[in-house]
């Protein structure tokens, strides 16, 4: 018994699921469900179909290069059974799995990081540009009168009329 990978979506095929297709050139195509099988029959390229692992890996959405992948390799030479080795292997699988999972999560988090920065930049720009919708420019705000002239006591001629003073305000 072996867990195979679906040719189209690269998901795991458990025993008892899916369909295998053997072509005349003896190449075997395994599919996990009829969705993948039908897509294959439609001659769709999995590298162009968004939800497949092939697409995700090709477009850098998922982690591709990692040392954990080298530990899981299809070995064609049978090894003589050794209980200790088996024990160690089982423990190791769990650890490797966890590490790989964490690393994949990291990869995806890394992908999302620039978005936050970008958002912040855009927000700042928006703030800068559209502040006029909620706040009047500093020049005419009531908190700060437009012409802020420090009160300098000037000895002014007494000919200035009351109206002129009023007009200035």
């Amino acid at each position: 018994m072996r867990l195979e990978f679906c040719w189209f979506c690269s998901s795991k095929i458990y025993p008892g699921h899916g369909i295998q297709f053997v072509r005349n050139d003896a190449k075997i195509f395994r599919f996990c469900r009829s969705k993948c099988h039908k897509n294959f029959k439609m001659k769709r390229n999995p590298r162009k179909v968004k939800w497949t692992k092939a697409y995700r890996r090709l477009h850098g959405k998922d982690m591709t290069k990692d040392s954990t992948f080298e530990l899981e390799r299809k070995r064609n030479r049978p090894e003589r059974y050794d209980r200790n080795v088996m024990e160690n292997t089982l423990k190791a699988i769990k650890k490797i799995d966890k590490i790989r999972h964490d690393r994949a999560a990291d990869h995806i988090a890394q992908r999302w990081k620039p978005k936050a920065a970008k958002e912040r930049r855009e927000a700042r720009k928006e703030l800068e540009q559209s502040i006029s919708l909620i706040k009047a420019p500093l020049a005419i705000q009531s908190q700060e009168p437009a012409i802020t002239v420090p009160k300098i006591k000037v000895k002014a001629p007494k000919q200035q009329t009351v109206e002129d003073q009023l007009m200035e305000e």
């Binding site: 040392s67 003589r80 050794d82 292997t89 089982l90 920065a117 930049r121 928006e126 502040i131 009531s142």
Partner: protein
Amino acid sequence: MAQYDFKKITVVPSGNHLIDIVLSRTQRQTPTVIHKGNAISRVRQFYMRKVKFTETNFTDKLSKTIEDFPRVEDIHPFYDDLLHVLYNKDHYKLALGQLNTARNLIKRIREDYVKLLKYGDSLYRCKSLKLAALGRMCTVTKRIGPSLAYLEHVRQHMARLPSINTGAPTILICGCPNVGKSSFLNKITRADVEVQPYAFTTKSLFVGHTDYKYLRYQVIDTPGLLDRPLEDRNIIEMCSVTALVNLHAAILFFLDLSGSCGYNISQQAALFHSIKMMFRNNPVLIVCNKTDLQTLEGLSGEDLKLVMEMKSAALKTIPGQGGEAANDKDVLLTMSTITDEGVMAVKNAACQRLLDQRSERKMKSKKMPTVLNRFHVAMPKPRDQKERPVCIPQAVLEARAEEAAHEDRKTEKDIENENGGAGVYSASLRKHYILADDDWKLDILPEFLDGHNVYDFIDPDILQRVEELEREETAVEEDGGDFEMEDEDFTAEAEKDLQEIRKRKKLLIQKHRIKKSTAESRPTVPRKFDKDRKFTTERMGRQLSSLGIDPSRAIERARSRSVSRKGRKRERSDGGDGEDEMEIDGGLDNKKKLRLRSRSRSVLPQRPLGEVVPGEGFKDSAQKMKAVTMARNATKKRNKDARRGEADRVIPTLRPKHLFSGKRSIGKTDRR
């Protein structure tokens, strides 16, 4: 010696049938037409031909029959005797003799009448002569009718006789009825003789063939013999007696130890002694059958003595003529046809005895020395006294010893049979695994774990590599946390502002969308004609203050510039203005006031909706309201159809596709 084939004898026609055949032949194969006007020689010739032809036919047929049947003088005495037993030689000979006589008679008739015909003078005379000739021939044939019938009967029976090759090595099985002779035949050959519990199941001789040392042996099964004097024997018994006497074969005398055949041992012994004369120089074996019911050892003393007597008699019957038993053992054998025990041994012993006899006879024949002289077996002379024994390597000897020791070891098949047979037990292939520790042989091997194939991960130094991995991970962790915050977060105030901005933008967008969607149906009314009185200075003031600007000056200005301020006539109707009456006299001249007050467009004063204006033609407020409602409903309908007014009869798309095309999923498309 030839193999007789009685099947090839032609069918013997009965008397009448023979006559019919011959006469019809004559009629067909000779010319039939003659006239009395023809020349007399021709007439004579015609009739002579007929007579001769008939005679030829008769003679031919009779001769054929006579020749086909075997002549008793010429055949093997076995067949001679057999024929005599079955058909009575005298009768047989007589019949054949009669046929011969008839043939001669017919010849005589033909000679006579042909002589007479030579001198026939008229057609009539010739015709009568021919008639007489043919008639006499037919009478003769009629007279031998019974003989012909008898011969036909004999022929049919003979054809069914088993074809026994008198020259081939033969094994003859004899004994009392029901001892198991036919079952033995069935066992060693492919013959399928009927085996039944009653006596005289086998009524004639049966032949089977078997192989031994690349030679083919005939095995003849005989009917059972009873202990009677020869004269009293019936035909069936005579068959077996004939075979016994005439055939040269190894004789297997069958003995039933258990007595289940119906005859006890003394009776069987008596039979043996009475027929042992017939054995002559044939090798004899005494076979004790049915050992599953009674073994030789279990016999009582008397019976055993009788058996031993028989054995010694069997040994004696070979007075140096060859075929002597190699050892005592070969003469007396035991077997059981039911359990198959000893059957093959018996057959092999019989065949071997025959072989020995043959080779001895060959050795004693006159031709032997000439053959012997032709070949010479060379024995190499030893050149020195050195012993050169057989050389077997030690390993081989050891292996052989081990083999011998292991011979009664338990095989897998035995284990399988013990544990329930083929369908129930399945052999454990793991037993013979070569592992570092034998405890591991019965381990269950996991194949999947957490969605991974375990076999893909197996590696002797996998732990080491996993450790490396973990170290890497921890290193990265300590390293990491490089979340560089390039920019600082916003302050709370800035956040709030941002939210405000976004909210405001949303509102604007919403309003714009509403405006756009209702643009067709609602006329865009410029602000100065706003019915709802939304655009007031208070509103403006509120908006400006929310922006953070002091609105007072703006309000002042707006109000000062409003038309009502600039000296509008007070005489206008009372429903007109709702504007502020506050006067701000900022020192403007009258001209300015007038200019400010004048409007480019006249505006009707507002009235309450239901108010009846005298010139309109309504009798009361209720009627006016009804009219208003009707107008409103009509407008609604028009607005719904996106018509600008009553007179708008534009059809934007004359032939919309969805009304003029398409098939129905069910039904007809006769009308649209």
